[in-house]
Symmetry: C2
Subunit: 195 residues, 2 copies
DNA sequence: GTCTATAGCTCGATAGAC
DNA sequence: GTCTATCGAGCTATAGAC
């Protein structure tokens, strides 16, 4: 039952956000009764904290897989930018960062901040490795550019949802990868990259 | 009184979003009584519609000023990317695009979509003019790159808020402008750009 | 056009039986 | 560990006096 509650909470957080994840709806989706929720968790906030921490683990694991250090740095960046995304649903953690209630609670916002920090660091590391290897223009600022690429993904979700056009995030991330490619330089002339 | 209600609604939409913009709070902030709200507007949704449309006008006017066609295209883009922004407050319209309730109502979401479309078009036009003038690498896709730059700004707000570090959006937009500069080419050698 | 009073509902949480 | 019953608060909206 505890797992069912957590799963329902994760689903509702993605669908509707924290504000609309009411205990009543969690119970209805999970099939549990009132008592179960307040037996296993301290309340709505406690359930959300546990759910958000699970989401953080899932997304962080996925990020670490994409940014595996044994993959060539530019391939990591391409995999990250061109990953398949459902623009209309949004980032499971990023969307929560838009709710004042979530940001007001360190329990709820810390996992989100940790995840973004992790991804930004992964991107910056890949950029630095690519620069060291002479594969990309050395004049860029790795950490600021990492913030930019993370922002392209998060903002891509925002403009996709706002326009109800899931392709918008694809255009945005494709354009970001295209710009990175224009800054590439292989030892022998400009490198030819598959898309 | 109608203006006071609208101003309170605009303030609360920015602070807290639509879900938490309750009639009671609007009345308390504006100083109006119950009757005034329901006399001038059809209800909470009607008030929010009017408020969002006013925000759309304000932001669209600001965008048209930044993207004035008499300004050189690259200067427009620099002005847009390097504009001062409070990363911790977020975009007045973009933040609303993260609420399911808002997206479910065409009345509320249409102004947001229109504003994003306008900005994306302004950016794309500036990029195309810069390409035609030979000021920037012609290999980029103007419309997709416009989506990317709009996403950098919107995503910059997201990561600033999530990390509680307002500088993040500045890093992201600075990096975007830096990348554009690296793709610039003036008639006589690489152009030297302030900022 | 503005006010107060209040309806009907859902919210988050608790009590107490089994 | 799970259930049903219920509380007090805040929500959106309406009624009706002035």
């Amino acid at each position: 039952m505890k797992d069912a509650l957590l799963q329902a909470a994760k689903d509702l957080l993605w669908e509707d956000g924290y504000g609309r994840m009411s205990p009543a709806r969690v119970l209805s989706v999970s099939g549990a009764g009132q008592g179960s929720l307040y037996h296993h968790f301290s309340g709505k906030a406690g359930l959300a904290k546990a759910a958000i921490e699970e989401i953080e683990i899932e997304l962080s694991d996925a990020a670490r897989a994409v940014f595996d250090p044994s993959t060539p740095p530019l391939d990591r960046l391409r995999a990250y930018l061109l990953a398949e995304r459902n623009g209309l649903k949004g980032c499971r953690l990023g969307r929560l960062a838009n709710e004042a209630e979530v940001l007001a609670s360190p329990d709820l916002s810390a996992p989100i901040a940790r995840y973004f920090t992790l991804v930004q660091l992964c991107i910056a590391t890949a950029l630095e490795e690519a620069m060291s290897a002479g594969q990309i223009d050395r004049r860029i600022d790795a950490y600021a550019t990492a913030a930019m690429l993370l922002a392209v993904v998060q903002g891509g979700y925002v403009i996709s949802r706002a326009s109800d056009r899931g392709e918008q995030i694809v255009s945005a991330t494709n354009a970001a990868w295209a710009m990175l490619k224009l800054l590439q330089k292989a030892p022998n002339g400009p490198k030819k990259s598959e898309s």
